[in-house]
């Protein structure tokens, strides 16, 4: 268990720092790269949480697709590749206050609810197969709906984004 905690500590630190860099860096491309660090860290957390399938999906979809998409977006919109000084707007101090307050509220609530609750040890590992079963049994309707959703997003995004 110690190992797990150490791993978590390292991951958490890395993710925290990277996340902060994502929202503070002056370079858009760097931000995307820091985002990759966070996303990868999340994938690692999933493994810690015994959710291998999700971890894999996280890597494939997030890092493989979404970040790529964002990078394309960056280029298509000709964002400054190098450092830019005006990436933040003038309400960032308010933003800091709001986020800290939010963190305070969330932290307080979580501390109150699960202050010393431990994750069950040796709980039944939910295997990928279970996930699959659940999707196609309990959640088959959302699954079908998501397919329409993706189709609609695709069609719509094409129309919206294409030059005409």
């Amino acid at each position: 268990m110690v190992a797990q905690n150490v791993v978590f500590g390292v991951l958490a630190a890395a993710m925290g720092l990277a996340a902060i860099r994502v929202v503070t860096t002056k370079n858009v491309v760097h931000a995307a790269l820091y985002l990759v660090v966070v996303l990868a860290g999340v994938a690692a957390l999933y493994i810690l949480l015994a959710a291998e399938f999700i971890a894999v999906v996280q890597v494939i979809i997030y890092i493989g697709a979404i970040v790529l998409l964002i990078l394309f977006g960056t280029m298509l919109t000709r964002a400054p590749i190098g450092r830019a000084s005006d990436l933040d707007n003038d309400q960032r101090w308010l933003a800091v206050v709001v986020s800290l307050l939010l963190l305070g509220v969330l932290g307080a609530v979580l501390a109150d609810a699960y202050g010393s609750t431990k994750l069950p040890k040796g709980a039944q590992v939910q295997r990928t197969g279970d996930v699959g079963l659940s999707i196609f049994q309990t959640y088959v309707i959302p699954f079908e709906v998501v397919s329409v959703l993706l189709l609609a997003a695709l069609v719509g995004a094409v129309v919206i984004a294409r030059r005409d």
Binding site: L106, V109, L133, Q137, V148, G156
Partner: protein, 499 residues
């Protein structure tokens, strides 16, 4: 659930009859997508006609299911087809149909992507139809996204118009943020209960939780839908988006999309969190009071009709939130509250769609959304003027137009609850409906009592589809106003089974 996967898989029970409306609708939207590919530019009207027929076709199974009358439940209560679902599905399909009628010429004349437009509209409708039956956090989430994502794009459909772009951007960003907040809340509720099915959640939570985690979870979920129904202070997107989006889309957003939000709220509040009225009742009280007051006050100062209607629909959302703020003091109160909200939704849909239809019709001539461009409308378009007057005063709640009955139900739910808070809210509602009259009447005044600004008094030509939309809505508004019984019964029928 261990062992060999293949052996463990049992095909889930699917009641295809119950799913018929959704399936028909899916078929139609796919057909639209395909047909659009093979139709020439000049004959895109076919696509819309196909969609229209398809919408009406998907109403058929709803009628059959309603006649059949059995509640059908699947996935251990995660997906339910009951009277509530059927009534609201019908509402969505009909309002979708009306929006389609309103869009027909508008989109065509703007040379927009008609096929895709229709497809997205139908997708969004599908999301709404699914929403009506969703009694499960995950399904609700997915339905919400399905109805929202096409709507984000529809808002930006006038691609070369900066306002339309801006509308889409604002809608999208705030929409995504609020659904993220909602998701976070769902995760908390899931964490507290270990289930996503609303009935089970209700069972797990028991009565009046004191756990801050659950409270926060419920609150975050409500925030997501408060955004959807444009409740203050989550309404900021609404005026800008409504103003920038193509007017039929605005109508769609202000009616169907908002209704979907309310449908979700109804299910969440009265099924999932019914026992937690200590959390949501004060919350909705504040939201309702804020929403109607801010919406009305700001509407007072609008000079653009669409923007005015946008704030008006914010305020109307405030009225619809009233039943939520008073529905927690017992089963009877809950029943009254639900009926009130549903009746209001039904009537609101008719009158607001009607108002937008008139706006579209008038804009065909004046090319303007400013209130001042309505000056002297009575002199050259008396029919439209009378219709607009009917819709506006219906929104204001003046008999004999439908709105009065809707408002009566709201008041009734508040008075029925009978607590000091509920009566206070009723009084606030009353005062607000007076403030609201001021701006509705100001539009009426412009039409009836002011001169024509540019002295161009050529009559307004109303295309048949738009005319049909006007006729449907006007008929509904007047019929409800004079004989509300029929619609009120729908509201009564559509009660959710409270536990």
């Amino acid at each position: 659930m261990t062992g060999l996967l293949a052996a463990a898989f049992e095909a889930p029970y699917l009641d295809y009859a119950a799913l018929a409306p959704e399936m028909v609708l899916t078929g139609v939207l796919l057909a639209v997508l395909v047909v659009d590919l093979f139709v020439d530019e000049g004959r895109k009207a076919v696509v819309a006609q196909l969609a229209g027929v398809g919408l009406l076709a998907s109403l058929l199974p709803i009628v059959f299911l309603a006649v059949d009358g059995n509640d059908r439940s699947m996935f251990s209560g995660a997906y339910v087809v009951d009277d509530f679902a059927l009534v609201l599905k019908a509402l969505f399909l009909v309002s979708g149909y009306v929006v389609l009628l309103m869009s027909a010429d508008h989109i065509e004349e703007g040379d927009y992507w008609k096929g895709e437009y229709t497809f997205l509209l139908l997708s969004s409708l599908l999301g709404m139809v699914v929403m009506c039956s969703s009694r499960d956090l995950l399904t609700i989430f997915v339905a919400l996204e399905l109805l929202s994502i096409p709507a984000y794009m529809l808002a930006g459909w006038r691609k070369r118009d900066l306002r339309s772009n801006e509308a889409a951007l604002k809608y999208y960003l705030l929409g995504v943020l609020s659904s993220a907040v909602m998701l976070y809340g769902m995760s908390l509720v899931f964490g507290a209960t270990g289930t996503t099915v609303l009935e089970d959640i209700a069972r797990e939570l028991g009565d009046n939780t004191s756990e801050p985690l659950v409270k926060l979870g419920i609150f975050f979920i409500v925030v997501g839908f408060a955004f959807k129904v444009s409740a203050v202070p989550f309404h900021f997107w609404a005026p800008d988006t409504y103003e920038g989006a193509p007017t039929p889309v605005t109508a769609f957003l202000s009616v169907a999309s908002k209704a979907a939000g309310f449908v979700a709220l109804l299910q969440l509040v009265f099924v999932g969190f019914f026992g937690q009225d200590n959390v949501w009742q004060p919350l909705f009280w504040v939201l309702a009071a804020l929403t109607m007051t801010v919406g009305n006050l700001v509407a007072l100062r609008q000079t653009n009709v669409v923007r005015l209607l946008a704030y008006s629909s914010v305020a109307q959302a405030g009225y619809m939130l009233v039943p939520f703020a008073v529905g927690g003091s017992g089963d009877a109160a809950a029943r009254t509250a639900q009926t009130a909200a549903i009746v209001y939704l039904l009537i609101y849909a008719a009158m607001n769609l009607g108002a937008f239809a008139v706006v579209i019709a008038v804009a065909r001539k004046t090319r303007s959304g400013e209130v001042s461009s309505y000056g002297g409308l009575f002199t050259y378009a008396p029919g439209l003027t009378v219709l607009m007057t009917v819709f506006l005063f219906s929104l204001a709640g003046i008999p004999p137009f439908g709105g009065w009955f809707a408002k009566l139900y709201i008041f009734k739910s508040a008075v029925d609850a009978g607590t000091g808070w509920s009566v206070a809210l009723a009084v606030i509602t009353g005062v607000n409906s007076v403030i609201a009259l001021f701006y509705y009447a100001s539009v009426a005044r412009e039409m009836w009592m002011r001169p024509v600004p540019d002295e161009d008094v050529t009559p307004v030509r109303v295309p048949p589809a738009l005319g049909a939309a006007l006729a449907i809505t006007a008929l509904a508004v007047v019929a409800i106003g004079i004989y509300p019984q029929a619609f009120a019964r729908l509201g009564d029928l559509a009660e959710l089974a409270v536990r």
